[in-house]
């Protein structure tokens, strides 16, 4: 214990004696550790954000469609999917009533965003419009802020009613309730019966609140029939989702007349599988960052080695005196190792503070997603200390091997 305190005391003493030099030496480690923490915080933040922002389905829900999940790499093969037969409304109805299927939301979309207008105002052509069933609400995790959602009666009677996303409602009816007002889609008038709760945006880029849905029956009046549908299926419970998927896939294969050897001519995804590729991408960014940081720490370590060699040379006489007065080799070795590790640990600490500060600053100022993970902080500190230890060995060994007589003779 006494020895530990002595070593720490000596190491800090050296730092105090050369504060500027120590600081400059530390920069490598500071930057290395800082980058690790900053980058890890940003990727971690991104990961968390991706999981929430890209969640477009409600819990325990999966979606079946002709095309692969949005964001999936498989979408490069567009033509192949284009040629698949449409997923029809009848097929969607065909999976209703399976043992682990609670709700089936059949959704019909136009090929591109639409314009919603009133007599005075209109939106840009950026509103996602859909013809839906009442089950849409739960399957897509939407809640109603004002008014009501579409009912079975609306669908059966083909009522021209529409539920608006909050962005659309705010734009067309600033400062007042849109309930009971009329909007037009492709020239067809619809009555606003409800407004959805605000959901925010995807990574701060694309709003999730620019939509308008109506009963599919009246949708087809305005937009015509689109034979292809997306089908979102809510399992009886989130735990049953895999069973529900199996049932739905089997049933759809039969309804679409596939032979046992054929591959599925439709795709399905859950929230988890939809963000999988993004997660992989983020993991790759993380790995690349890690490589860069390892390099930075290597450079930092070399800096430590350099300064320790200088320190040993400068203090040759001191080492000689210490050895003459009875310091064993190991004692000198440990003293200098301790110094190297203290130096690098300090650098690691500054780095962590800097990195975390940058990440949090970026979040506060530019509202970039960032969250500082504890493991990144520990990792930085450990690797910084490790670099100090590794690169401190050679200078320390050199110090410990000095001959006391020779060492005391140097000026």
């Amino acid at each position: 214990m006494t020895q530990l305190l002595d070593n720490i005391g000596m190491a800090l003493g050296t730092l105090r004696a050369n504060p500027l030099r120590s600081l400059l030496t530390l920069l490598g480690i500071v930057i290395g550790a800082g980058t690790v923490v900053a980058m890890m915080s940003l990727t971690e933040g991104l990961r968390e954000k991706v999981t929430t922002d890209f969640a477009m389905l409600g819990p325990g829900t999966f979606q079946v469609q002709k095309f692969p999940a949005p964001g999936s790499f498989a979408r490069r093969d567009w033509r192949k999917y284009e040629q698949r037969r449409p997923l029809t409304r009848d097929q969607g109805e065909g999976v209703r009533g399976l043992p682990h299927v609670k709700l089936v939301s059949i959704e019909e979309y136009p090929n591109r965003p639409e314009v919603v207008s009133t007599r005075e105002k209109k939106t840009k052509q950026n509103v996602d419009v859909g013809g839906v069933l009442p089950d849409y609400l739960e399957a897509n995790g939407v809640t109603i802020a004002e008014g009501r959602f579409i009912t079975d009666g609306d669908v059966e009677l083909g009522r021209r009613v529409v539920v608006l996303g909050p962005d659309v409602a705010d734009l067309l009816f600033p400062g007042r309730s849109p309930l009971g007002e009329e909007v037009r889609l492709r020239g067809t008038p619809f009555e606003v019966i409800g407004v959805g709760e605000r959901q925010g945006s995807v990574l701060g880029l694309k709003s999730k609140d620019g939509w308008a849905v109506m009963p599919w029956t009246s949708y087809e009046i305005a937009f015509g029939r689109n034979a292809n549908n997306n089908v979102a299926i809510v399992a009886t419970s989130p735990a049953d989702i895999q069973k529900a998927i199996d049932e739905v896939v089997t049933t759809l294969r039969r309804l679409r007349g596939l032979s046992p050897g054929d591959e599925n001519d439709f795709d399905y995804f859950t929230n988890e599988s939809a963000t999988e590729t993004l997660d992989q991408l983020i993991a790759m960014i993380g790995a690349a960052t890690f490589g860069v940081c390892a390099l930075a720490l290597l450079v930092g370590g070399i800096g430590i080695m350099n300064i320790m060699l200088v320190s040993v040379t400068e203090r040759t006489r001191e080492i000689g005196v210490r050895k003459a007065l009875g310091a064993r080799r190991r004692r000198i070795l440990i003293q200098f190792l301790f110094e190297a590790v203290t130096l690098s640990a300090l650098g690691g600490l500054f780095g962590v503070l800097l990195g975390a500060g940058l990440a949090v600053g970026a979040r506060e100022v530019f509202s970039v997603p960032a969250s500082v993970p504890a493991w990144a902080v520990l990792l930085s500190l450990f690797t910084a200390c490790g670099a100090g230890l590794l690169f401190g060995i050679y200078p320390a060994a050199r110090a410990s091997r000095l001959d006391p007589v020779e060492a005391m003779r140097t000026e």
Partner: protein
């Protein structure tokens, strides 16, 4: 009289310099009893520094034996030598060899640090050692805030603090003016009177003459060994500068 504190027998130290063997020390034998004050005197090149390094366990001999307080120094490992230096020898150097960044007190504590003594105890012991050389009021000064004489006193306190069996002083007055040097020599007299064994290595015959015993070296051999005043005056057969 019991076993001598120091017993060296045909001690030799040869260096090889550029393929040539230099016999820095070439078969030296003598005993020193506990409580003696002995000068080792000789001109530069006589081998006295080599002998001093051997006596101080800083170097090992090429041949011959050296017993210090019952230990066969030749057989010891590096670590054992370090421990021996720590316990048995108090060094006093011509250039003081104080750590520049440490206070007088911290410098004096140093030998105790390597003995694993607790901070509190070693502080108390070091304070006492500093007081015993008259520096009770300079403990927290750094070496560069002290005069030459004071620095050498700090070094003496450091040599004394571990209560070694031998004080080994290498030209202790070499860097001091004559008056300060005189004070240091008187301090050695006091320490010897209190029972400390002192070996004083010097090139000055005048200094050697004041020691009760002197051993004069020339060309790596003993030229004379006896009362300081007599031995200091000896002139070698091939004395330089005649």
């Amino acid at each position: 009289m019991g076993d001598p504190l120091i017993s060296i027998d045909r001690l030799a130290r040869h260096y090889s310099v550029g393929g040539e063997v230099v016999r820095a020390l070439d078969g030296v034998s003598f005993d020193i009893q506990a409580g003696e004050w002995v000068a080792i005197v000789g001109q530069s090149g006589s081998g006295k520094s080599t002998l001093m390094n051997l006596l101080g366990c800083l170097d090992t001999a090429t041949s011959g034996t050296y017993r210090l307080n019952g230990a066969d120094v030749e057989t010891l490992s590096d670590d054992q030598l370090a421990d021996l230096r720590n316990k048995e020898i108090g060094f006093i150097f011509q250039t003081f060899q104080l750590l520049p960044r440490a206070s007088a007190l911290a410098n004096v504590e140093l030998p105790l640090v390597y003995r694993g003594i607790s901070r509190k105890e070693r502080r108390a012991t070091a304070e006492q050692a500093l007081r015993s050389v008259g520096l009770g009021n300079r403990m927290h000064h750094r070496p560069n805030e002290l005069s030459g004489g004071q620095r050498q006193r700090v070094a003496i306190a450091r040599a004394l603090v571990g209560d070694p069996s031998l004080l080994l002083a290498d030209e202790p007055t070499g860097n001091l003016d004559s008056q300060t040097g005189e004070e240091i020599i008187r301090l050695f007299g006091d320490l010897n009177a209190r029972g400390h064994t002192i070996i004083l290595v010097t090139h000055e015959p005048k200094l050697a003459a004041r020691c009760p015993r002197a051993i004069k070296l020339m060309d790596g051999r003993v030229l004379g060994d006896g009362p300081g005043a007599e031995v200091a005056a000896l002139q070698g057969p091939r004395a330089v500068g005649t």
